[in-house]
Symmetry: C2
Subunit: 218 residues, 2 copies
DNA sequence: CGCGGCGAGGACCGGATAGTCCAAATCAAG
DNA sequence: CTTGATTTGGACTATCCGGTCCTCGCCGCG
């Protein structure tokens, strides 16, 4: 295993616009199908059909199914992080956190809690069968948590959060509540558990505010 | 769907001790294998081999793979509830909750956070593909949460918890933290996130104690 | 000790699905 | 326009895996 594809642009392939578009179409279809059915329950033929492509195109753009799945992990991770960056980048107050919570709940209630978190379900399904996917997912979770903890740091620096608040731990706790909430909501087909879980985590963060708000979380 | 197998002993089969033992062996093997590889990634041949049985025995005791999986959901659910009953039935104090937390963390740290919760991973994997399994799992989670909320009710009745504490919501939050903790720990191959998540939930419950303990959670 | 039925062994089948291959179409560049 | 590389279509293959079936073995009962 001396030379991977690392630093081996010896034979870079020319890639046309059409090629890029096809690859994107495949990933988009895989993303959609695997979100509702799960990774293992989705076949390449399903993806081929949904993406209006052919078998050879799948294997032209991805070495095998495992590679496609790994690409999807990257793809979905980028999507989630981009979305979350929008909601968390400017986070400076507790009410901003509440708005963030409401947006997630709102989105998940559209399908009655079904399907859960696109990253969380992949993590459960893949962690025990693809080390590389697991590690990418773990990094994505870390990046996601960092978006939260960065916001909490800003709140602490501005004096909104007490000095003894630990942004990293708070972010991890919030992420766990979110993921656990997704999981229970998916099992129950009801967003309620997710709301309760997030409210617990927010209350916990609230207990570190310098000037406690009287208004309830929601 | 008028008559399920409920109250339909019209043609009760004689079942020998040997037959029962075989069925148990199959379930035990399925439980073990599907815990580490996941449900969909485990084949009937794997189970056959691990349980030292044959194909016909699998189909003698279970109609098809789906039925086997459903039986496993029941089996594993019963195991977890039995285990949890042991740890929660006598719960009457916050320190009991801490001991319970420590036991779970301890158990999960034995495999460095891998595999997650036997129920949680099944819930993620099956919720989108087997409605019956999903509903059984949802009920099992409810029963598990009830073990917790019953304990919290006892604490509230005895005056340890304030009257405005909501045992059901606290139990749901704790369960979500637990499941989310399992998930993140599995993705990270490290129990740390699970500890942080559980500590958050316990701190939250602690905030409802009538006489706050000075000692930290762990 | 023989009979009936449950339990067990394992070969076999069929379909689904990942993966291959080759020829045709399309495209970029000179 | 020519040429060579990329992209595409889709038939084909190999294999895995769920599920079937037939036979024999074993056990309990009369």
């Amino acid at each position: 295993m001396a030379d991977e594809q690392v630093a081996a642009p010896t034979k870079q392939r020319r890639i046309s616009q059409r090629g890029i578009a096809t690859r994107e179409r495949i990933l988009e279809a895989a993303n959609r199908l695997m979100f509702v059915r799960g990774v293992n329950a989705t076949t390449l033929d399903d993806i081929r059909e949904a993406s209006q492509t052919s078998k050879s195109q799948l294997y032209h753009h991805f070495a095998d199914k495992q590679e496609l799945v790994r690409a999807l992990v990257k793809y979905r991770g980028a999507l989630v992080l981009q979305r979350e960056r929008g909601g968390l980048e400017r986070l400076r107050s507790f009410s901003g956190l509440v708005r963030w919570r409401n947006a997630l709940v709102q989105a998940n209630s559209l399908n009655n809690g079904k399907y859960g978190c696109g990253l969380g379900s992949m993590a459960v399904e893949l962690s025990d069968q693809d080390e590389q996917a697991r590690s990418m997912l773990s990094e994505t979770f870390a990046a996601w948590e960092k978006l939260i903890s960065d916001g909490l740091h800003r709140m602490r620096d501005s004096g909104a959060l007490r000095q003894d608040a630990d942004p990293e731990k708070l972010a991890t706790g919030l992420m766990a509540a979110l993921q656990g909430g997704y999981l229970l909501a998916n099992a129950a087909h009801d967003v309620a558990p997710m709301e309760v879980a997030l409210d617990m985590a927010l209350d916990h963060i609230k207990s570190f505010l310098t000037e406690p708000t009287g208004e309830p979380t929601r």
